[in-house]
Amino acid sequence: MTAAAPKPAPSRPLLAVRALRLETASVPPRPLVHGLDLDVQPGESVGIVGESGSGKSLTARAVAALLPGTVRAFGSVVADGREIIDSRSGRPGGLYGRAPEGHRGRTVSLLMQDPFTMLHPLRTCGRQIADGIRAGAPGTSRRGAALAVTERLAEVGLAPGTADRYPHELSGGMRQRAALAAALAPGPRLLIADEPTTAVDAHHQGEVLALIRRLQQARGMGLLLITHDLRVAFSACDRLYVMYAGTMLESGPARDIETHPAHPYTAALLAAEPSVRERYETLPATRPAAGPAAPATGCPFAARCAWAEADCRTAEPVPHPVGDSTGPGGRLTACRRMPAVAADVAAATRRTVAVTVSERTARPLLQVRGARKSYGGHEVLHGVDLEVPEGGAVGLVGESGSGKSTLARLVTGLEQLDGGRIVIAPDAAREDTGGRDTEPLLLAPGRPARGSRLALASAVQIVFQDPYSSLNPVHTVGSALREAAASPAARRRGDSTTTPVPTAEELLESVGLPAAYAARRPAALSGGERQRVAIARALAVRPRLLVCDESVSALDVSVQAQILTLLARLRQELGLSLLLVTHDLAVARQATDQLYVMHRGRIVERGRTDRVLDHPEAPYTRQLLAALPGSPALPGDSGTSRRTEG
């Protein structure tokens, strides 16, 4: 495990990780990270990119000397000239996990992902920033600390009064700023930011990144950014490391990786990344992972790689320079077939821009008119109109709290209207044959009758965001699917459709899973597989409209591409209509023809997806687009929104 590529560093690196190996403290130990090398120079901005299970967050925890007690670390982590790993014991972490004096705080500080859990709920923001200040400069007086708190708050664009506020009194974006102020309070030389934008609304992501970047440059601080989002990494980092299943697959300057990926995995990730500017025919998705577990030997990506040879599955991947780029900051790849297959990989992952969206004039399947909904006397939908044409794909975008999920739940009958109406057109296929459902289904305020509810459930089905909580863990996949196919809604649907009742096996095949999965329980499936099962369960009723409420946003980008491809195929094969509720404009661009933009319970813009995103008219849509990472953000814009927030 000492296969470190020698890198003569020009100056002493701020952080030098050598052959870092992490494994569980269990017997036998399970490897989590295999021999990682990583450098951060003073003032440099370095990103670790990887999907879930890549070991990127554990690496960050190891560098911060904050590993959980269940993980052991071997190898070397030298931060500011001091070794923090005691390789003999594997240094168990925990509350009293030792770190050299001043390592945490003055040398390294860690900003975590979730602004809702990162700050102590019972302490004011000021106190939490102040304890960081005292950690950086012990013996600071009360008065001195109070002054410093105001300074730190100003630095992140928050008013001095924020110091007296408790975290629950602040919005998510403000909490993230307050947490950043706390993380920077001890004056660290290296800031580790673990997914700092993931839990923040899309609207504020660009702002948070720009703020971190600006503070990093102003303080001459090193930045280690951990992210699953390539767009974020490219926009904020000088150099990147790409991790997969605990192994470093590729590293080099961010710009080079963006333009010329030197590993099939990176190339696949880039190809799977949806773009907000163009729509592609398909997002070239990698093969789904074989299962949650990674193979023990060889290249961990071999099972999903189209270019893998026999040797890839047995020989340990060794990072080697790409082309003639040697020296510090040069390109390294762990793919033993590079550069031989470079041209093939590039060709296979090239994406073709879709020509145009067919301008369909199908009759509307779903019509929402003046929908109103209140919770606790607070109106969250102020009269919303929306239409989904027969066979169409409609996107509904907005930030959290905009009311888009409420609308999705109204359409699915999970919530009842307080005003307005929802109409589902009769099934065109049955109209001429005089079937039962020739009357449109009308939902008005109040609790609908059982017949209406059944009719609604048989026509509209929903797929939720989190495939981990939307499947019952004690039921096998097969029994969950059979239960859905035998539900009253499915029987009711049987009266108005000629499509036969699908079996569990057929349903699994329709979502690209082997029929044998029927015997498995959700715990034995990966996140992407679970979401496929959730879609299959919705399809069991043979619905006409599928509502996807953030159904791809909890998934890794490569899995997201697979699910989007699946949804497109299902639309084509089954003539299914789609209402895609998402915060992600790029996902909406790839998967929808029509787009509705929602803001504070109102539709602020609607139209063809490409037109709305290329030529936004509503100021709010423009704001959303400008806030994307990598967009040329207008300095005036972010300044205004900061002021209104703080």
């Binding site: 509350l95 019972l122 302490r123 304890d131 950690a135 993380a183 709290g401 999920s405 409420t406 319970g601």
Partner: protein, 345 residues
Amino acid sequence: MTTTSPATGQSPQTSAAPSPGPARRAGHPLAAYAARRLAAAVALLLVVSLAVFALLALAPGDLARTLLGTRSATPQALAAVRSAHHLDDPFLVQYWHWLAAALHGDLGVSVRTGAPVTQAVGDRIGLTLQLALGGFVLALLAGIPFGTLAALRRGRATDRIVQGLGVIGLSAPAFASGLLLVHLFALRADWLPAFGAGDGGTLDRLRHLVLPCVALALSVTGLLLKLTRAAVLRELDADHTAFALARGVPPREVLLRHVLRGALLPIATGAGLVLAYLVAGTVMVEATFALPGLGRLLVDSVTYKDVPVVQAVALLAASAVITVNLVVDLLTPLIDPRIRTGGTR
């Protein structure tokens, strides 16, 4: 909507920019909260008093005879009792008279001794309160530090030993551990008295209360320990603890100001329940150590069908439980600012 569940999408307050200064408007919702809690406690007390009063009606045999007790049941005496207790009135009217008298501090006369019930109770309540509070303080002093220690040493030998001892204490009945204590420290070692409440001197009373308090504490320490351990573990695993350590806050400070601060609310809630249980549950220990407290009074009164005293003691125990819960409820907003300002998270 990035990581929030669909359910939270419904609560519009989460993303709406908070209006300025909710902390400064805290006075009003806090007063409303306290008033609501107080009203609930009073309502509960009324319900309990009705149930306690019904005890009399449910007592077997002729009520007048029961109330006369050992006194000779002459027709005059019976008639006097009937009129004194309004026994000829409808049940709710009887209840009303009883409640009105109780509110004026008149809980009737002991059937057994003929003395006012308030006097019988008043004589003994002091000892029971001393016993319960003593046991409570000992249980807190043992349960919280050892629970914290067990959490910090999670999964290691210390954790298992501490938890094991807690379970033993929890599962041993107070009379059994009491007898063991008497055997060890009173009979074998002769350090402390084995029974009785002492001759009245403060120091003597203290000496007599040590063993009963320990016996009482042993029965609930395990509960507090488990509760503390779970609460501290949850805080140790919380993101905000890791974040505090990550920005260099010294571990000792993290433990005191972050972890224990966060665990305070569940511990206080649990401790309140324990205290209420102790006040109402000293019977066993009082019997074991021959202490003339409320528990003994209750046992004796039940034996002699002294219904007015049973009513009084039951009412007192219920009031204690309700009061302790009310105090805990009123303390929570002081501990947790989110309850103070009606925040959602």
